[in-house]
């Protein structure tokens, strides 16, 4: 199978997975005994008002019609109601929050920069810290350095990010006030303040998440360094730095990339706990708001958006894999 056919097949199966997730979300959220029209209707809610609100929101239709118009809305937009009071939701329409009078896509677009700032910055840091310490531990195998890094990594994977985040806020923002205790400043408004507000969440997320990367990098490096091709390279007189960084690390990075793609994709969909601890209004905060206000449209739209990010991340990882490692496409032929 050539590489383009493989990529095409992976894209097709990703689309199928997204469709299945949409179906699952619909079945769960619109068949459970919560009536979105009832919630939007207000009090007192007469039966006539309720049926008018249901017709307006489209919830009087059978679920498969609702799902059809939802999916159609993503591509061509949709209009709720008719005449003067109609609400237009432009494509890509992921639903409309009648509580906030805003399309879900717009809400997501407003909040995404916050979450993306947290996620991308932290991810870059944890990849650097994790891979560097993993390589170091592998090279110093069974020494005090290795033991210390391994021990710290078990502590790191065991510590809940929100607990450490809270302790960091108490220590560095409330007791000795060198960092802000939370909040977010737009990059375009003030890049320095943007950075200043992000340092603490980045460090907390990065140091804890790096632990997992240290462990996987160490295991992979130890495995690679004991392979025959490394011995051959050494006997040919290839410098040790080339062996470690060019040969071993390159192969060791493949599983690390898989983990990185999934972690970053998941975090971009909403850094719920981190946003809560550092009071940042990102996607996770939007989701929590919609939970406390029973805003189902936002719930479904945000969950779907998060799912798509994870799937895209997975897709990118698989494509990178097939480019770096020809065995992937050959093996599935």
């Amino acid at each position: 199978m050539n590489i383009l056919a493989y990529i095409g097949k992976r894209i097709a199966s990703s689309l199928l997975v997204i469709l299945l997730i949409t179906l699952a979300l619909f079945l769960i959220f619109f068949l459970l005994p919560t009536n979105p029209a009832q919630l939007s209707c207000g009090k007192p809610c007469t039966p006539e008002q309720l049926s008018r609100v249901s017709a307006f929101m489209g919830t009087d239709q059978p679920w498969y019609i609702q799902m059809g118009s939802y999916i159609a809305g993503i591509f061509v937009g949709r209009t709720f109601g008719t005449g003067g009071g109609a609400v237009v939701c432009d494509a890509p329409c992921l639903g409309y929050s009648f509580r906030l009078n805003e399309s879900v896509s717009q809400l997501i677009a407003d909040r995404f920069p916050v979450t993306a700032s947290i996620a991308v910055g932290a991810a870059v840091l944890w990849l650097i810290i994790g891979v560097a310490s993993g390589v170091w531990a592998a090279l110093k195998r069974d020494t005090l350095v290795d033991r210390t890094l391994l021990g710290l990594s078990v502590v790191g994977v065991s510590a809940p990010s929100y607990l450490i985040g809270l302790l960091a806020v108490i220590a560095f923002a409330l007791s000795i006030q060198i960092f802000p205790s939370g909040g977010y400043v737009n990059f375009s408004q003030d890049p320095v303040q943007w950075l200043y507000h992000l340092i603490l969440p980045w460090l907390v997320l990065a140091i804890l998440s790096a632990a997992g990367y240290t462990r996987i990098t160490r295991t992979q490096m130890i495995g690679e360094l004991s392979q025959d091709y490394i011995r051959t390279a050494r006997s040919k007189g290839v410098p040790e730095s080339v062996i470690v960084f060019k040969h071993a690390l390159r192969n060791a990075m493949l599983p690390v990339m898989t983990m990185f793609g999934l972690d970053l994709g998941g975090l971009l969909g909403g850094a719920v706990l981190t946003e809560k601890v550092f009071s940042m209004q990102g996607l996770g905060a939007l989701l929590l708001d919609s939970v406390s206000n029973l805003d189902l449209q936002v719930l479904v739209g945000a969950t779907l958006f998060a799912a798509v990010l994870v799937i895209i991340a997975n897709l990118i990882v698989d494509i990178c894999y097939s480019l770096l490692d020809p065995r992937v496409t050959l093996g599935r032929n």
């Binding site: 997992g212 130890i222 998941g266 909403g270 706990l273």
Partner: protein
């Protein structure tokens, strides 16, 4: 632990291991990993004892996790040293209402351990059954199960669990809901492991011989393949429990997990935040318990993993 608290902590590790090339490192079992079984095991056992005997232990000082003790408070904060630590309140009391903190931590361990263990059992049953089916019969069964696994891996678990807490009526018991959700979302990692192993094992001589002698698929799967999977499954489940415990605590911390007044470490941590500067002990006891139990399971899992496959060194 990363923000993404997937129910199966083993998930990401499993995927990485599945794609990695076999490691040929030949290491001796390190003393570090042997002692990690002992230390991790002792920590886990202590918490199991705490959970089982939460009632009698709290009763020694005549406490329970609900009764209020205004006499232990000075104003709204606990009176005395370390958040009100005394002979009758070993971990002090909570601010505002003066509830015994030791009882909260002890009863909270029931929730953490109970949800962690029971959801593992659910994931294990689903994951083993589907993994065996996919790996042994392949073809259509494999295609269907593998696509389903893709859907589950694509689900943003934490976000979905938060969303689900809204639509499930409050009358539905929360411990049961969390156990079901974590169990139902935690199986794909196990299924992937079992499927891969079954693919290999079913081609080995002993399985082929059994089939040639006329054994039914059920017999081969149950008597030939499953026993060979046990060590891997034990390690995988042990390493997945911290993720499950963390997910319950995380959801309760966000206010969408356990409802008050049921004791839960995550909710106590969330309650303790606003008191952190005046009464740090309120944050440190439940937080410390959560960390220690997770740490214990991780140590135990690392050690067990090394014990079944010493070549691997420490699991990634």
């Amino acid at each position: 632990m990363s923000e993404v608290t997937a129910p199966a902590g083993g998930t990401k590790r499993g995927s990485a291991a599945a794609r990695s090339t076999a490691t040929g490192a030949s290491a001796d079992r390190s003393p570090y990993l042997r002692s990690s079984i002992i230390v991790g095991g002792v920590i886990v056992l202590l918490f199991v004892a705490l959970a089982v005997f939460a009632g009698p232990l709290s009763a020694i000082t005549g406490n329970d996790p609900y009764a209020e003790h205004p006499e232990a408070l000075a104003g709204s904060v606990p009176a005395g040293f370390g958040g009100g630590i005394s002979a009758s309140h070993w971990f002090g009391v909570t601010p505002l209402r003066g509830v015994d903190l030791f009882s909260i931590v002890a009863y909270g361990s029931r929730i953490s351990l109970g949800i962690g263990l029971f959801s593992s059992v659910i994931s294990l049953v689903i994951g083993v059954a589907l993994g065996l089916l996919a790996g042994y019969f392949q073809g259509l069964a494999d295609a269907l199960i593998s696509r389903t696994m893709d859907v589950f891996f694509g689900f943003p678990f934490l976000i979905f669990a938060i969303a689900l807490s809204v639509v499930v009526p409050q009358s539905f018991p929360r411990p049961l809901l969390l156990t079901l959700v974590l169990g139902f979302f935690g199986w794909p990692g196990i299924a992937r492991l079992v499927r891969g192993q079954t693919l290999t094992l079913s081609k080995r001589n002993f399985a082929v011989a059994s089939r040639v002698m006329g054994a039914s698929p059920a017999h081969v799967l149950w008597h030939q393949i499953l026993p060979n999977l046990m060590p891997l499954l034990i390690v995988n489940v042990t390493l997945s429990i911290p993720g499950r415990i963390g997910a319950e605590a995380g959801l309760s911390f966000l206010g969408v997990g356990m409802n008050p007044p049921t004791p839960s470490w995550g909710r106590s941590i969330s309650d303790a935040v606003q008191w952190a500067l005046v009464d740090p002990m309120y944050l440190l006891f439940p937080g410390g318990a959560l960390f220690l139990l997770t740490f214990g399971f991780n140590l135990l899992g690392d050690g067990l993993s090394d014990a079944i496959d010493p070549r691997k060194g420490v699991r990634a």
